[in-house]
Amino acid sequence: MTNGVSQETSTSEDIKKVLVIGSGPIIIGQAAEFDYAGTQACRSLREEGVEVVLVNSNPATIMTDEDMADRIYIEPLTVSVLERILDRERPDGVIGTMGGQTGLNLVVDLEKAGILEKYNVKALGTSVASVEMAEDREQFRDLLSRIGEPVLPSYAVETVEDAVEAGRKIGYPAVVRPAYTLGGTGGGIAQNEDELRKIATGGIAASKVGQVLVEQSLLGWKEVEYEVMRDGDGNVITICNMENLDPMGVHTGDSIVVAPSQTLNDKDYQRLRTASLNIISGLNIKGGCNVQLAYRPSTMVAETVGEGAEYDAEGSMYYVIEVNPRVSRSSALASKATGYPIARVAAKIALGKTLDQISNAVTQKTTAAFEPALDYCVVKIPRWPFDKFPMGDRSLGTQMKATGEVMAIDRTFEAALQKAVRSLENGRGTLLWEDPEWGNDGPPDLLADDDRIWKLTAAIRGGRTAESVTLETGVDPWFTRALQRIVNMERTLLAEELTPDLMWRAKRLGFSDAQIGTLADYLPEQVRTMRKDWGLKPVYKMVDTCAGEFEAVTPYFYSSYEQENEAVATEKETAIVLGSGPIRIGQGIEFDYCSVHAAWALQKSGVESVMINSNPETVSTDFDTSDRLYFEPLDEESVRDIIENEGAGKASGNPSSMVQFGGQTAINLSQALGVADLPVLGSTPDVIDLASDRGRFEEVTSRHGLPQPPGGMASDVESALQVAGNVGYPVLVRPSYVLGGRAMEIVQTPAELLRYFEQAMKDFPGQTILIDHYLTGLEVEVDAVCDGEDVLIPGIMQHIERAGVHSGDSMAVYPAQSLTEAEVETIVDYTRRIGLALGVVGLMNIQFVVAGGGTYRGFNASGAGSKSGEPEIYIIEVNPRSSRTIPFISKVTRIPMVRIATDVMRGKTIAEQGYEGGLAKKQDLIAVKAPVFSMSKLDGVDTFLGPEMKSTGEVMGIDTTFEGAVTKALLGSGLNVPEGEAVLLSIADPDKADALGLVRTLDAAGHRIYATGGTAEMIRAMGVDVVEVEKRLQGGSGRTVVDIIEDGTVSAVVNTVTGDRSTMQDGFHIRRSAVMQRIPCFTSIDTARCAVESEGTIAEAAGGQSYNIKTLAEYLDGE
């Protein structure tokens, strides 16, 4: 079965130093899974005695921590930067297969540019030729034919006309897939020629090589994935197979995925397994690989999607859809689903080891050469960002839209599914949720979108049969019947008296206490009490790679209602770390970083760390990060059950929980733990409430004379208008309990306030709305650790964008550049007083506005000069927990904030840990954090920066100069303005005054300026040349803004939106076009100025040395 494999000898003894390339910022399609993979790979390589050099631009990762690799570069991931690193480091090999598509593409580019050869560096693991064979559609099809695997009728084309021709041959619907892209960017399903033209145009633009594939539609077929592994000797194994609940047509990253497959019999399973192994052997993969296949659907589905799909129809039983010759999102999921550390093993294979030479880290007895056996069911559900983007296009297709995912494990599909739903934290809670807009007739359609699983369940609940739902959606009847069984249990719970037997059966189907309570008419707490009285509590089973065949040493658990408990508490001191759940906008990988460090800090002090998390992409859910891992929903029920299980029989009672590291998810659980009398380490639930409750917080600040912007609260529109009138417009409005600035807006007029209020009352019924006067000024951010007596501030970060842009979307500079000494002192003083006044023990994050000295002051050092007199500093927000900037500030100051906080929470003061209170000494370096967005993947979403967070990830630029650091941050985030290229300006009236400097800088730098009406008028008045273009909605005959963006006339756009909603709508087309063309689009004058002013540095950089390339340690040590 492995004919034609070219054998190469191992070369491990030659490999002493390896460069590992990370995946850069978190974007849709490339998320935390590569931090997990990269971290595991670095450790695995170091176990083999290899010196590891790491490069990644993402500071929020564990992999870029100082002790993860021997030498760490936090530098932009570009070919020229990598060349400079290769030149400095001269490694023996480079591994790109751990860094997602980014890492893979970089290695291909380095090879093609002859750079690997120049520095005598080997691409380790899967060769560049194999990568190209896997990714180039034509080469891949040739391979399939050669090894006798079925080839789907399809055509690789490079022009739209050729695509149309292919469509004619294949027929419609036809699928368009661009070559070399992430998460299916730019692909789609065309129902007719018009649609094909449109999709092919975008796809060709999106593809790195300008190539798309037009192929026969396999809509409705089962989608199955195999995670496979191969070593240099040709040994091949399957780690895991997975079946998508959503049939072909929905990107696998957006599908609900089940592992192992549920509806394949052994012959089906083995047929696809053998095909997958044949393919990776044919490709000569050395390492991990993901194979996606389509399989003929059930008879019932075939009735819907056509005869071609029938089980006994002519043609192949299956087709290979895609191969990813690297570790991937799916391999992270497979690792967590099976316990098999794919990245660890792949890294060793890259060094030349064979599978039988690598030990199985889980059993520590057997080797890596085996296939995991599961004795449970795993369900993954993606987490989509549409709670943040209600106006976005929520339909699911070939373009991935999810930012993260949750995974749940149980002994049945129903229970795993329901636990996964509970893990999502998307406001739905359980499968009982129905959209109030559906009304009595149930969901209007069953089309694939982020609510599909609720729509399917609601349809069945409304009386439709599982079969009819299958006929409409193509979801295999096995899954719809499972939903039917869940609905049947709902009915039983509604109708029958709750008995121990009924409760047991409901629990075995994954019903939560809250769900049972809703149906059987009890409060969740009553259900819990009843359950405990009846002796019904979950047991915990181990994920051990081998279905119990061998004893395993990795304490990785999931709950189930079963007979035997395997997670027996120890007598050692234990603390629980609550993780942060799925990656979403506003709560990203930073909080996983914090959770991991908390677990490590506990271990360092001899305390057993117990991690609870539901996110399969992360380092925190790696089996050896904590002493014990519970892969469970982060909700009150499961957290309390776990704590009680850990406390059972322990002399010291229930262990304490750490709620400060897992973002809002963990902090929100603090109140429930408090009520349940379960111990919380550090700031008490009352302190947390004090900081989070607006009313209580204001009482504290006014008592201590800490200034806040004038503001108030309102729960009806009359009082809102009154408050706004009193504090003065513009006002910043938001619901009282939100995350990531959700539904936060700056409102300029009473009319806008009315509109906002109406919407907010609908979206957040019963919530109080906070109304603050919006202060224009510099925004400054501080993280601090407080031990009750002392407050340690590692550094002050200044935002480049003025207050009003969400801190997560702002560029932040450490150390602050344009603050006066008096202002710094005031900020330190306020921080200290807030910490002590609130009684914070552990971490807090505070955001300040520095007002005065005009509306805007430069972001660089010269800015401070324009300011004199008394500081005017206001506190905008205090979060009594770790923040998004903790990894950044910890790295650039070398102050391990999480470790210090963890020890503080356990009673060791800052002084006892050898640190001093107050502001730490400034490092002699400059670091800039820049946000990264995934807007090109989210149709219909407006990209302007505002108080609501929109970015998915971040990069860091670090250097000895401000210009160097900014330049690298811009390069890393793709916001650099290309030298000498034309720029389009469309500036809202209130921003025009601030734009004058920008226009002069652009002109001086030789950019041709295009502008819309009013902006052009202003520029002309300045005596600067400008080309006026029409807005799209003006409907004139000339070229519009959209035209000049789409045809490449301009290479950057500045479009500000301050003002009312109509200017926003005007600019919407401009911003979307810029996003789709992948050119920088600035919606804040501040960012644009920063980018333009640093442009000269980038130009110099082309020559080579205007910015440094050094390791993090070198910057910190001033080398």
Binding site: T274, D312, T366, D476, C546
Partner: protein
């Protein structure tokens, strides 16, 4: 569908009790309780004669998802004594599904139990070793244990005789009884002629002129072994377990396959004698029990494993090529490499526990494997061994031709 499923219990001989609901037939059953870690292939396992005398516990919790089908049988009936699952699917989904596992067990009269903590059983067996157990509707543990004490103990009686064929037949495909041509014990055809003229089974390829004749000594053969041989151009004649070497040689075979089967190889002296009689006279392949029988024929001994190897993920290293294959396994006994005579060498080992997984004779055309190259269920990675066997046969044929010339 109105079948009310009452309470059932699995009681192990150490007194541990696992409560659940009835699955399949009513009544009581005993057997050696073993677990299998394969995630698919429950019907192939149920019909695998090597499970004769045993109660099977799949570790995968959801059993019956894709139903049962005529296409997935490995013998003419369910062979296990009992079946223990965490959850059985009452609404299977697969284009080939003909019914549920529950109904399938019911039709075959095999009792089972559903809803039990199969992982707890697995953990028990892996630490305490396999043991006898009883599936019973009786909640009284003492009565269950008393019944169990009286039941025949696995390993103390010959199960092979129960599962082997009574007749000699030529196997012509998958169409059931009518595709078999029967022979008397002297090898004369009772119907058709030598299996060549009888109606062919479904999808069987024509054997052509230069076909090989393989006699399969049936200790509990799986259909996929017959299919695998036939697909490689072998005429397949199946003989009962008690056939002597002379009986087998009377068919004038080009090769002999000693099949897998249930039970302790120490009980099979007659088969060992048969294997001795065949050694060196005809190319021979032994699979599983057949492998153990051949090892014994050369003087090696076998021993009982703590809890056996049962699953589709066992790593085996082919010592000749150095390659590792993921294999399907189902055995409770293994060959002791210490007692191997000169000439017989270990060709394959298990990477989990280093036990012997295959033998090869240095001079005679003999190859054996402890695992299942026929898969079904399990990975297809080891099909190459049938090719290797065919290679042995063809080498033998060439030698014969040379001798004649």
């Amino acid at each position: 569908m109105t079948d009310v499923r009452g309470d059932m219990y699995l009681v192990l001989e150490d007194g541990s009790v696992y409560p659940g609901k009835r699955l399949g037939a009513e009544g009581e059953t005993t057997g050696e309780v073993v677990f299998n870690t394969s995630m698919t292939g429950y019907q192939e396992m149920l019909t695998d004669p090597s499970y004769g005398g045993q109660i099977l516990v799949p570790t995968y919790p959801m059993i019956g998802n894709y139903g049962t089908s005529e296409a997935d049988v490995e013998s003419t009936r369910i062979q296990v004594n009992g079946f223990v699952v965490r959850d059985d699917c009452e609404e299977p989904s697969h284009p080939l599904s003909e019914g549920t596992v529950h109904d399938y067990l019911l039709e075959n009269g095999i009792p089972g139990i559903s809803g039990v903590d199969t992982r707890a059983i697995t953990r028990k067996l892996r630490s305490a070793g396999v043991m006898m157990g009883i599936i019973t509707p009786n909640a009284d543990v003492d009565i269950a244990l008393a019944t169990l004490a009286k039941a025949p103990r696995y390993g103390e009686f010959d199960v092979v005789g129960d599962v082997s064929t009574d007749d000699i037949y030529a196997w012509n495909g998958d169409a059931g009884e009518e595709s078999r041509a029967f022979f008397d014990l002297r090898g004369r055809a009772r119907q058709g002629g030598m299996g060549v003229n009888v109606e062919r089974g479904i999808g069987m390829r024509d054997l052509g002129d230069n076909y090989m004749k393989v006699v399969v000594n049936d200790y509990g053969v799986k259909l996929n072994i017959l299919r695998s041989l036939r697909a490689r151009g072998c005429e397949v004649i199946v003989v009962p377990d008690d056939a002597s070497a002379e009986d087998i040689l009377s068919h004038n075979p080009d090769g002999v396959m000693l099949s897998p089967g249930p039970g302790d190889p120490e009980l099979l002296d007659r088969s060992v004698a048969t294997a001795k009689g065949l050694s060196g006279k005809v190319p021979m392949m032994g699979i599983c029990l057949g492998h153990q029988v051949i090892a014994r024929a050369f003087g090696a001994s076998t021993f009982k494993l703590h809890f056996g190897h049962r699953g589709g993920n066992q790593p085996v290293k082919d010592l000749e090529s150095g390659r590792v294959y993921v294999t399907a396994q189902n055995h409770g006994y293994a060959v002791d490499p210490a007692g191997l005579p000169d000439g017989l060498e270990v060709s394959h080992i298990n990477l989990n526990d280093q036990t012997v997984e295959g033998l090869r004779h240095r001079d005679m055309p003999i190859m054996t494997i402890q695992y299942h190259s026929e898969a079904s269920p399990g990975p297809h990675d080891s099909e190459y061994l049938f090719d290797r066997f065919v290679g042995l046969i063809q080498a033998g044929q060439a030698e014969k031709t040379d001798a004649t010339v």
